[in-house]
């Protein structure tokens, strides 16, 4: 057991009455919620500092330079200007928002619907829950490659199945206006299991008294949903929205595996743009893109988090 050395004092000092007795100091420390002395945090803080904090601030510096790993040339805001003025690069910026909003919205809506289904008395409920969650566990690249093959406009299973019903399937990944949304659809398919899981936990936590009271009052199913389930599941909604927005803004691997940012630049997002700049050896420009991504995610998620949590506290 550790001993706070501040508690050990010569008797003469302890009796002067000008400082607090040892027991009160220990209680102060406990009240401040720190059961361990400061140096317990040192190893974790060192690792966090070296691997996370230092690179973050270093990247803020390198974003203002032209960098080739061996030499650095300070060029001010040029990288950022290039990033936003070039149509190819700024398109990725817009696409990122579209992608994040679409996937987040879809995951919330579909996740909640599935959660309500899977908390009702449906047959084989446990099995269905596992099935819905399974795509979350599978490798993203594997999913990307599989769906790329399925979505092939001529030989892919999806269009062949549509052809049986007589529909001419579009080029899911080859039509520039559809490519990003097709990837978003696959992302939703893959990620909705997690949203459902969070929503199930939220729904199950609602006390059944509310439902009983509503039934006594003769409320319809939709009315029950709107007035009981929806408000009380708000913490879960906050979690799902925040998580899926962050994930959607940062997404890279699924897009890269399915379209490589293509056709052309149609499904480029910030992360794939950053990767392409990196691949071309433009390390300063790539780092500037990373800084932009960092700022974008913070600017979107932080206010959202504060807003949604404040509202839930009022509730």
């Amino acid at each position: 057991m550790s001993l706070d050395t501040a508690d050990v004092r010569p008797r003469s000092q302890a009796n002067t009455g000008t400082s607090r007795p040892p027991s009160q100091r220990r209680r102060t420390r406990q009240r401040r919620n720190q059961p361990y002395p400061g140096w317990f945090y040192a190893p974790a803080a060192t690792i966090y500092g070296i691997l996370f904090v230092v690179p973050t601030f270093a990247s803020f510096y390198f974003a203002f330079t032209r960098w080739s790993f061996v030499e650095t040339e300070f060029i001010g805001f040029d990288n950022f200007i290039t990033f936003f003025s070039e149509p190819r690069l700024s398109r990725g910026f817009v696409n990122t928002f579209i992608y994040a909003v679409v996937t987040s919205g879809a995951k919330v809506a579909i996740g909640l619907a599935l959660a309500i289904l899977l908390t009702s008395g449906i047959f084989a409920r446990g099995y269905l829950r596992a099935v819905v969650f399974f795509p979350v566990l599978v490798s993203t690249i594997g999913v990307g490659i599989t769906f790329k093959i399925l979505m092939d406009p001529f030989d892919g299973l999806i269009n062949k199945a549509l052809a049986v019903v007589g529909i001419q399937g579009p080029g899911w990944l080859t039509d520039p206006s559809l490519a990003l949304l097709s990837v978003a659809a696959v992302d939703v398919w893959k990620g909705v299991g997690l949203a459902t899981l969070i929503y199930i936990a939220g729904i199950v936590a609602i006390p059944s008294e509310y439902y009983e009271a509503a039934r006594v009052d003769g409320a319809s199913a939709w009315s029950t949903f709107r007035n009981i389930t929806l408000p009380l599941v708000r913490p879960a909604t906050v979690t799902v929205v925040i998580l899926s927005l962050i994930g959607g803004l940062r997404t890279f691997d699924l897009i890269w595996a399915m379209t490589g940012g293509g056709p052309g630049f149609a499904s480029d997002v910030i992360a794939s743009t950053i990767y392409k700049q990196y691949a071309a050896g433009f390390y300063g420009l790539s780092t500037a893109g990373n800084v932009v991504l960092f700022l974008v995610v913070t600017a979107v998620v932080l206010p959202l988090y504060i807003f949604m949590n404040r509202k839930s506290k009022e509730l």
Partner: protein
């Protein structure tokens, strides 16, 4: 006490396990460089997996060299990706000092972008460097040294065409772009795709743009130098925009095969040979694939350069072969130089010919073209003999933006126009030139 002993045991095992894991992680990155005194020195040769002919050439060179030099073993590692990813891999490995002893990469502008003076092994003092063709040597050198040995022969870029289709429809090899488009109309009326494109391998999308350079150089002889000095642009030079316009013409006329966005290089060649498509823009090295996969039909595939506006000034855009380079950090520089000397010799040329046949004139003195050549190559050789060639732009200027293939895909899918694509490429070039620190940018 039992309790304390168990805890000590668990603590000790945990520390041991973590230590062992850490050591295992540390040692995994050292690469297989084999022993020096006991057993042959092993050199690893890293390359991309996108072009099967290249891999076969590398393996042939490695096998022949190892047979002649039993104390040095060259192992080909063709695990690299293609396209943008391959560029990323090469640059990252070089920048982090993690490159294999040898690697296969393009010559010209792409090589200049690898920061050769600092990252590549300088072989300028080797005796065999004198035997290299002057034009080729310029594409693997900077002012401070020479860095590569050729792993192929000179090539041409233009249209492979199906001779049977031409004969059936009574068409002639076009001398101007108008003739070419007219041929295309006739072919399409016959129910055959006039031009095959293979955007599934994104690098092939830029073939027409690059292979048109001879026509650009006819009208603007100083274009390459002006571009390097930032005194001209693609968008501001009508002859250069014309290259982009050609791809747009093909798309607008509906000449492309239906599945052009997903087709791969091998599939495109198969379509050409089977008569499903009449033309395929490509470099002549691909004739080896045709010879290998379709030996009976190889003679029905011919070649002609991308036609321009003038029937008189009809010429070929030529490519320098790719090269084998070594990073400055290699642990076996002497063995590496010996291997590069083998590659740049008559024995090396023989290996290359054995692997992929004759694809064009060699760039090493002492290597002659002998034996039978495919129709594609025999259609191409007269241009070299009559000196009606121009090296492609990337061998005359180090300014080559990394996104041309994606811009070409954008243009080919009808999303942009030729002028917009040219402007986008100018922007791309600007970023590249600034990164290289070229004067005037």
């Amino acid at each position: 006490m039992t309790h304390r002993t168990t805890r000590r045991l668990i603590t000790a095992s945990a520390i041991t396990a973590v230590g062992v894991l850490a050591l295992a992680g540390c040692s995994a990155g050292s690469g297989g460089d084999g022993g020096g005194d006991d057993g042959p020195v092993e050199l690893t040769w890293y390359m991309g997996a996108g072009v099967p002919d290249d891999i076969e050439t590398a393996e042939q060179l490695a096998a022949d060299f190892t047979a002649a030099n039993p104390d040095i073993k060259v192992v080909v590692d063709a695990s690299g990706p293609q396209g943008v990813e391959l560029d990323a891999q090469m640059r990252t490995k070089l920048a982090t000092g993690d490159m294999a002893d040898l690697f296969w990469y393009n010559s010209g502008a792409l090589m200049q972008q690898l920061n050769p003076d600092q990252q590549l092994l300088n072989v300028a003092d080797e005796p065999w460097v004198e035997d290299l063709n002057e034009a080729y040597r310029g594409t693997v050198s900077t002012d401070n040294g020479t860095y590569g040995a050729p792993v192929g022969s000179g090539m041409g870029g233009g249209f492979f065409y199906n001779v049977d289709v031409y004969e059936e429809l009574g068409l002639e090899v076009p001398m101007t772009w108008e003739d070419f488009m007219a041929n295309g109309e006739a072919i399409r009326a016959a129910g055959i795709d006039p031009v095959i494109q293979s955007f599934g391998d994104t690098w092939t999308a830029q073939m027409i743009l690059l292979a048109d350079y001879y026509n650009v150089s006819v009208e603007e002889p100083d274009f390459a130098d002006d571009l390097t000095a930032n005194e001209t642009t693609f968008a501001g030079t009508p002859a250069a925009v014309a290259s982009f316009q050609k791809l747009q013409d093909l798309t607008e006329a509906g000449f492309l095969n239906e599945d052009y966005q997903n087709t791969l290089l091998d599939q495109a060649l198969a379509k050409l040979v089977n008569g499903e498509g009449a033309h395929y823009p490509m470099l002549t090295f691909a004739q080896a694939t045709i010879e290998q996969n379709f030996p009976d039909q190889a003679d029905s595939i011919g070649f002609f350069p991308v036609p321009g506006d003038s029937a008189q000034d009809h010429g070929l855009t030529s490519w320098m072969p790719s090269s084998v380079y070594a990073p400055a950090t290699t642990e076996h520089p002497e063995e590496v130089k010996k291997f590069m000397g083998f590659v740049a010799s008559a024995d090396g040329c023989d290996s290359i010919t054995a692997a992929r046949g004759v694809t064009g004139p060699y760039v090493v003195d002492g290597c002659e073209i002998e034996g039978d050549v495919s129709r594609v190559v025999s259609d191409m050789l007269p241009y070299f003999e009559e000196n009606r060639t121009s090296p492609a732009l990337e061998f005359l200027s180090s300014v080559k933006g990394p996104n041309l293939q994606t811009i070409a895909v954008e243009l080919g899918t009808g999303t942009t126009t030729a002028q917009q694509a040219a402007e986008a490429y100018d922007e791309d070039n600007r970023i590249q030139a600034e990164q290289l620190g070229l004067e005037g940018w």
